[in-house]
Symmetry: C2
Subunit: 328 residues, 2 copies
Amino acid sequence: MLSERQEKILKLIITEYIKLARPVGSNLICKQLKCSSATIRNEMADLEELGLLEKTHTSSGRIPSEKGYRYYVDHLMQPKELNGEDMLKLQIIFNNQQLELNDCLSESLKLIADMTNYTSIVLGGTSHDNKLKEISVVPIDSENLIVIVVTDQGHVENKKVYLKNVSLEEIKKTVDLINDLIVGTPIDEVSSKLEFEIKPIIGRYVKEHEIVYNTFYQVFKDFSSKNINVVGKNNILKQPEFNNIEKIQNIFGKLEDQKEIIDNITEENNDIKIYIGKENHLDDEVTVIKTKYHSKGEEGTIAIVGPKRMDYDRVVTLLEYIKQNIEK
Amino acid sequence: MLSERQEKILKLIITEYIKLARPVGSNLICKQLKCSSATIRNEMADLEELGLLEKTHTSSGRIPSEKGYRYYVDHLMQPKELNGEDMLKLQIIFNNQQLELNDCLSESLKLIADMTNYTSIVLGGTSHDNKLKEISVVPIDSENLIVIVVTDQGHVENKKVYLKNVSLEEIKKTVDLINDLIVGTPIDEVSSKLEFEIKPIIGRYVKEHEIVYNTFYQVFKDFSSKNINVVGKNNILKQPEFNNIEKIQNIFGKLEDQKEIIDNITEENNDIKIYIGKENHLDDEVTVIKTKYHSKGEEGTIAIVGPKRMDYDRVVTLLEYIKQNIEK
DNA sequence: TATTAGCACTTGAAAATTATTAGTGCTAAT
DNA sequence: ATTAGCACTAATAATTTTCAAGTGCTAATA
């Protein structure tokens, strides 16, 4: 258990380091606490012993260890009020009735990326709440047509498909069948309904049923795939910890890799969660702060990626605010 | 006018520099031409006099100047045959009937980015050839609906719109009107037809005609906006000329700025054009090789961005090949 | 007259050297 | 328990040294 003074010192070191990005010495601290630098040094040595602080070399000041940051976010930080200006800018986005959820999210996360100089990510997908509302086809020429799928939440997806040797008649039949039988089905269950309710019927009435079935199956499969939006990647270049090309290559590579993002960013927890350094699997040098959101027919993750030396309080406040706003 | 030997030397210096990325000395050259290094040095001095070569410092080897590269691409380079493996990979993409133009383009440019370690850009838009085929609306709830626009080339665009105090009746009326009167109109002319043919009519029959008109106007306006796809941005990090954060910040900034891309990448010429260093307005350190393409209802630009020390022959060949393939 | 051998000279890059400075840990006094 | 005082450490920056690559020029040569 840390003493009150130790907590004060740890907190000061972390906040100073977040501000200045260089090791914090005992002098800086002792000015803000009424005691001598020697006392601070003793305490610092203890905190290092406990694994909460680190040195970059024998005679350097201290920087927080990952354990130190962890202690800070768990016990020491007190999320700030959202500053008025930030809130105003965000409100403009949320109050714009014209924007649909996804635009709203990307707009606000773009804003956050700008404000904080970190990188933000929206990882969204349609959820169980999204139910099939209507499917229609528009023929383009004898071999190509567009399939359009609309959900009750207003999501639209379209796909151009190439169908050789299939008459428009038969496709229309199938579309009518889908509109009759599985409208109202949650979008993520459509595939299976397609298999068990549609496939057997068209098997009897439609000549090229195998091809037709596969086509529609594919359309719905694509529909439920996730969409990924990474904003403010270039902000990484502004962070002093990313001062060499290799580190940049690594993190940029990860941030452009869909699989990497889906695997490492997706969050199943509804609280705001913080993953510091090795706690996330994206990059040891960064912290990821993220949360799952639900809104109408969609659920997904919003995340902020920044250096471990991140302004935790502010990011948590911002993320919380966005989450609240999109969920209502 | 350059002598034959001077051209040989210039060409060798450029190709070697492209390969090795460091200044080329007289020794390297004299091994490939049967004469002494002293002779080469004399010639080099002349080529420098002419502004075709540069030194990085008094006693360094030579690197090509922008004028040197220009001379090379205008007079010296001879586009290689496309190597079999590259061609095969590209053919797989082009032969995939399932892919629509846009996917085809981004897939192949992604491939090129991988093969060359440069960055590629597709800047596409619907063109005059794209004609309105059908428009439909799907109501979501009392105040929101989806407008879906399909063109004869198979482009689909949808937009969720928010319409308060407008009855579905009136919207349907407008949609029918559009489908009756302006189907078949090139997509980039729809806006004006909307104004002169639809607006006057709904002005008489539709109550909230002002709002309805504006909504549809907006839908079509969004439709014709350009889509931009930048692939392989991270490859820039692999180029030795981009070895400091500032340069990277600059070029990455440009490549993420839509306006910057539209202004500086759009190409109106149907040939393959090469813009070296200051000739392009993106970044003095890069060369942009690009061309305009036309395919079905779409036209746009495909471009490759790399260091001035770019493999000109190969990129030109690849771009030519892609252009040919998408245009047929 | 064009080419070339030879050599002094220049420069950048890398390695080694030398301050300088911020900060430590420890000891002894308070 | 706290603190003043001081020897000590290591990074950073500045300076010097060494090294290799490559030039330009001169004079000799074919």
